[in-house]
Assembly symmetry: C2
Homo-oligomer: 237 residues x 2
């Protein structure tokens, strides 16, 4: 085997490793998506068993984070990647941290679902939380899709959705404050609803972070701490 | 210059770079410590000007994150570090993400301080938040200290403090719920107090994360998602 063939051989193996790690990130993301969906469903339908399923599966999300993290560091040590490959590994290390924290927030929603199942249900059946849960789950799905296709423009578009999530969140908060002031007996249930809305809002923030890593990965530009308009421009340029 | 001298020369330069990046992390950590201290003081004393100072300085924390992140990735690309040096860079990349989020939480506390300054003050002058603020600022200080001295055992000790923070937080929450139920006119002030306590509790979590990175850096072991007892054991072994 001459040097050139060996080089190609190594780079082929390396590509397989990179592909594997991307697949693992997608699998972890898919699991977190499910956790968000099930936690929201459990809350809306008052299904304690489903909520407990989410709580007991959080360890799987954590295990995937540790596994992918280890593999990424091994690739850094063994392959010493540069340029785009290096950016991919850094983006993976950051993405899985956000995915793990989204998993924690889904678990929090599931814990609230267990509390709320014992209490009287509001007339609207928590439809505002259902809506917010759908929004953030779709954001995560879009962010993962942009990651898989290395599509910076799509990532910027998904990040924009965070504005909708934030305005939904503000509306829920205002409504809950009114509820509590109307009747102190509403306090506990309303607080649990608030914590759930808060957890979903945080999931939206994490999805936006992942979009920022995708833009960094594709464009090599750090788009954190700038406005959404600037980010969209950077993703397009 | 023979090969050996050149090798030493490169490694000397590399050591300077590593030292520089560690110093920058310490400087960023020091700034975040100040932000936490000032935000808590502003809240307790109702000092709007001080609170606005914290809010306007958050961009400095963000800028440091972007700067250190870039430098870390450049070191990965140029120096292709392995073993302990690689772990240091990975620990730096993760630590600054947590520091930046602590900065965001300090900013949140400062925003609550602005709201609360307009409202009637409780008899205890928010002493419970002062206490919690002190606790988490000391946790961060201890975590940074352990990072600077590469002391895994000290890091495990600091992480333990998170239990105190969590129990303070639970006590504040219980008290606030009672407040709200007693008098609906307390709702807004009480919610702002709750959000502040929540932000401080999150700062404690981030400090604990930094302790985990220090143990990873020194011992090469991933101690996330295990109990504090196991963590202490791993740090000692």
């Amino acid at each position: 085997m001459d040097k050139n063939t060996m080089g190609q051989h190594i780079s082929r193996q390396f590509n397989v490793e990179l592909e594997e790690i991307r697949n693992k990130v997608m699998a972890m993301g898919g699991l977190v998506e499910e956790q968000i969906e099930n936690a929201t469903m459990a809350l809306v339908s008052g299904d304690v068993e489903q909520a407990e399923g989410v709580i007991s599966r959080d360890y799987q999300v954590n295990a995937l984070e540790v596994d992918i993290d280890e593999e990424s560091i091994q690739i850094l040590a063994r392959r010493q990647p540069t340029a785009g490959d290096l950016r991919l590994i850094v983006a993976v290390i950051k993405t899985i941290t956000d995915l793990e924290r989204m998993g924690d927030q889904a678990e929090k929603v599931a814990r609230m679902a267990v509390h709320l199942a014992d209490m009287e249900r509001p007339r609207n059946q928590y439809s505002e939380l259902q809506h917010m849960g759908d929004l953030v789950r779709k954001m995560l799905h879009g962010a993962l899709d942009a990651f898989a296709r290395m599509d910076a423009e799509a990532a910027a578009k998904v990040a924009q959705e965070d504005l909708k999530v934030d305005s939904e969140y503000d509306a829920i908060m205002r409504q809950m404050i009114t509820f509590m002031m109307e009747d102190p007996r509403n306090v506990k249930r309303t607080l649990d609803t608030m914590w759930s809305a808060r957890a979903l809002e945080r999931i939206g923030d994490h999805a936006r972070n992942i979009c920022e890593y995708v833009i960094y990965l594709v464009k090599g530009k750090d788009v954190r701490h700038i406005t959404l308009e600037q980010m969209t421009k950077e993703a397009r340029d």
